[in-house]
Symmetry: C2
């Protein structure tokens, strides 16, 4: 298959090299378009006030791979690849392998997930893949899983509008307990800011904070991504770019019709 690989850790990250090289060696036609530097926590941002440049950097990767390092964000990379750099659309966009998990509400800030989201918006099946540790640097189990997942998706395709957000426990393959389909969980942060005083006496803040994972019990629901990782399972969460709160449409429509509310909107 023809694969477009992106990430948010940048071209020098070991995660993207493990992913791209593994998939190229597995026989796929691999093109890499990724940021020229780390772009973590850039969320779904775009570069609109500056021009975007892309430089060929293929010597970082397996000889069969064509690679560009791009001055933009992860979303810019996928947009630029699909809109300008690639001659034909890829069969899949694969984003990662991120150093660190992308779980719960944290995915809203994730450049890794946003890059894959760009693919899905353009109708291309897409996968975001993350290794759930900042300190374990062995990306091979996660890269091998990506390769197997693509093989399965080639044999039995899924509807194109689904982004697969994959988190792989940072464990040797033999200690990974299995694969589970999950929903997005909850991650909050306590003590979010550290307040400091600079040498000129002025206040500044560092975004910091400690993760607090929550495991709300909801009967008849899939486990959350956060729970899956806590149990040493590979988590696959199907995501959508449609943020509409489905139940909300009905309840808001009823809300608008209430006798106390409606007169306020007689424009």
């Amino acid at each position: 298959m023809r694969l477009l690989i992106a990430n948010d850790d940048g071209v020098f990250a070991p995660g993207i090299r493990a992913l791209a090289d593994t998939l190229a060696i597995a026989g796929h036609e691999v093109v890499v378009v990724c940021p020229d530097r780390e772009r973590s926590a850039t969320g779904h941002s775009l570069t609109v006030f500056d021009p975007i440049r892309a430089e060929v950097v293929s010597d970082r990767f397996h000889p069969s791979i064509k690679a560009w390092a791009c001055s933009g964000t992860p979303s810019d990379c996928v947009k630029l690849a699909l809109g300008a750099l690639l001659e034909e659309p890829p069969d899949f966009v694969v984003s990662g392998i991120n150093q660190g998990s992308n779980l719960g509400t944290d995915i809203l800030y994730s450049g890794t997930v946003s890059a894959a989201m760009e693919g899905v918006i353009e109708g291309i099946p897409s996968i975001a893949i993350s290794l759930t540790s900042f300190t374990v640097h062995d990306f091979q189990p996660a890269a091998d899983f990506a390769s197997r997942l693509l093989k399965a998706l080639e044999a039995a395709p899924l509807p194109p509008k689904m982004l697969l957000n994959v988190n792989v426990p940072a464990l040797p393959a033999s200690e990974i307990a299995g694969v589970v389909i999950t929903r997005q969980g909850i991650r909050r942060y306590h003590d979010l800011f550290q307040k400091r005083i600079d040498p000129r006496g002025k206040t500044y803040y560092w975004l910091a904070g400690e993760v607090v994972e929550e495991y709300p019990q909801e009967p008849n629901q899939a486990p959350t991504d956060v729970e899956a990782i806590a149990q040493n399972l590979i988590s696959i969460t199907p995501l959508t770019f449609d943020l509409t709160y489905g139940q909300g449409v009905q309840s808001l429509t009823e809300w608008l019709r209430q006798p106390t509310v409606q007169p306020l909107f007689n424009l």
Copy 2:
């Protein structure tokens, strides 16, 4: 009520001034924490590699308003307000008024929507409000609508986990055709990149593109935000921060159990 106002157009944007002043004059306790410069298309990005600063800039606003200009992104502003600057949590986060619409898939890139999303993640009811024009600068009809909407929400509260994404047609109040509850529509861009050559002979790209609005007919569904604006209606879309593709959880679970797929994942 106690209101936190943010935006992505920055502290010097006329939209935030119209919104904050209108709500202060209506009797609300208003605090503004917004970016110190334009931060459009920053999506849900966070500042993690730099410290964040916030400076008091209250003289831009109505005398009753306390205001900070913050060096971070729209999401940073709301996080910093809730985590460090405000003594008590606000009753509502209101983000805007954005110059330009936030409709369809464009909301994924929207700093305005992301700022409101931060509020909802923290359990605070939140509203994003946008004026659907880059050239009409009369924010008063939209500010008045925000004031009325808050009055209605005070009288008849909604569940807290719902973000209201409001788009107001750029028309005099008398020409606005009404209010409608909508779902997120589709906006695509054609000819997304302009390729140019710099004076040193190197290629660069501008993200550009022409909007293509789509109106897919889906029976028994609410109209889309894109359709509502095309009909001169104020659009209110309930949004969620849970990106899980609900139907996908079931279909993926079945997919994983297929005899051709399952053996690939015997780890």
